[in-house]
Amino acid sequence: MEKNHVANAVKAMVIGGSAGSLQVLFNLLPLLQNHLPFAMILVLHRRHSADSSLSELLSTKTLLPTCEVEDKDRILPGHIYLAPADYHLLIEKDESFSLDYSEKINFSRPSIDVTFESAAEVYGPSLVAMLLSGANEDGTKGLSLVKKAGGTTIVQNPETAQMPYMPHHAMMHTVIDHVLDVRQMSHYINNLR
């Protein structure tokens, strides 16, 4: 954690999650301070039909401005962005979003790997990526690319995950900097600079 304070100011945090991850966010968001100096980008697997009410639901848990991404939205610090259902979410060099409706990856659209990879390329060492509960392999490849680009990797402690497979799979296949439960996550995030 010290290294983040000294070396690279965090510009973005990407969080990926699948089954069981929503509850984690509901518990985590109220614990965050009301001003974060970086953008928080959420990529969650969800049913297509769940459409746009999820961002409204999340926004009831935090005072940070929360919205579902529209194409070419600018990425601003202190905001929480949610990947829209059924699109891949990519990040451009000029720190704006673009959407993509190409094939599903790992049976998923949005794919966590796609966003993590794209974020790693843009933010490099200024990125923190965190993978939550889930029952598939999406996110592992993305985390390894974040690590390769010099970013920080975190997984939810599998013992606290409703579906431990996803964070566990990432731990087995790539280098993870921190394994955290919800309270530790909030402490870690609130101290990021």
């Binding site: 579902e68 991404v69 529209e70 194409d71 070419k72 829209p84 699109y87 891949h88 990519l90 990040i91 451009e92 060099k93 673009s98 959407l99 993509d100 409706y101 190409s102 094939e103 796609v114 990879e117 794209s118 390329e121």
Partner: protein, 269 residues
């Protein structure tokens, strides 16, 4: 690892040699698809990929097919189609003749969805649907009107959700895992290649649909294409975009008024 500079060189080649201009596409998505293609086709280096593309026109065809995203479906976003049924078609129905442009139609699932709506509104007879895409091979699929049968269950559900009252299977005949849509629908579809980057306006339309195409363009190209749409729409014509696309902050924003929660705008000046 493919560098951004490599991608730029490649895109400049395509303009110089073939006149295909992808330089204003959204970089993140374009690069991802190029990386994917280099890996699928097992090129040992980017230089060899670039050489193949420069020298082999057949490979260019494959490149265009693989780089442009051709994932689409019938009655995608049923509430959008419901709004077309309830809010747009009754207005268009008062006209003696209806011209609709599906820009970047890909394999045509949305064009057939629209033809079905028009038929059910009793308007198909006096309508023409222009289906265009830059990729000639997908247009062949539009012409045939044949789609995988395994998708029909989901399409049927979306159709019902959009307010459809018929048995969806009335519209196609099933054969060897394929669904062929009835001829009456395809007879009203005019198919042509059109590149939104380089080609100009070719008619005046009452409704233009361009859904999930602009997401692949950068902001400047989006503005250029939106101006093209503006120039191709009659007064009080409608423009329909994908659910996460917007006219907000665009150059034509003030000439259009959003109709409702769906991404449909009316041209007011």
């Amino acid at each position: 690892m493919i560098e951004d500079e490599d991608v730029e060189l490649l895109l400049n080649d395509l303009v110089d040699i073939y006149g295909y201009d992808f330089t204003s596409y959204s970089k993140a998505s374009l690069k991802r698809r190029i990386v994917r293609l280099v890996s699928i086709d097992k090129f040992p280096s980017f230089a060899e990929f670039r050489y193949k593309l420069r020298t082999d026109e057949n490979y260019l065809k494959r490149f265009v097919e693989e780089i442009t995203v051709n994932v689409t479906e019938m009655f995608r976003d049923p509430s959008f189609y419901k709004s077309l049924r309830d809010d747009i078609l009754p207005v268009l129905g008062t006209k003696p003749f209806i011209r609709i442009w599906h820009a970047g139609c890909s394999t045509g699932e949305e064009v057939y969805s629209m033809a079905i709506l028009l038929k059910e509104a009793g308007l198909l007879r006096k309508s023409l649907l222009y289906a265009t895409d830059l990729n000639p091979s997908v247009l062949e699929k539009v012409r045939k009107g044949i789609f995988p049968l395994q998708q029909m269950k989901q399409y049927s559900e979306s159709y019902i959700e959009s307010g459809g009252l018929k048995d969806f299977s009335e519209y196609y005949t099933a054969h060897y895992g394929q669904a062929k849509f009835e001829k009456e629908l395809s007879e009203k579809i005019i198919i042509s290649t059109h590149n939104l980057v380089s080609d100009s306006s070719f008619n005046e339309f009452d409704l233009i649909l361009c859904r999930n195409v602009l997401i692949y363009f950068d902001k400047d190209l989006q503005d250029r294409v939106l101006k093209l749409f503006d120039a191709s729409l009659g007064t009080l014509g409608y423009l329909a975009l994908g659910t996460k696309e917007t006219l907000k902050f665009s150059v034509i924003q003030n000439k259009f008024k959003q109709l409702n929660r769906e991404k449909i705008w009316k041209k007011i000046m």
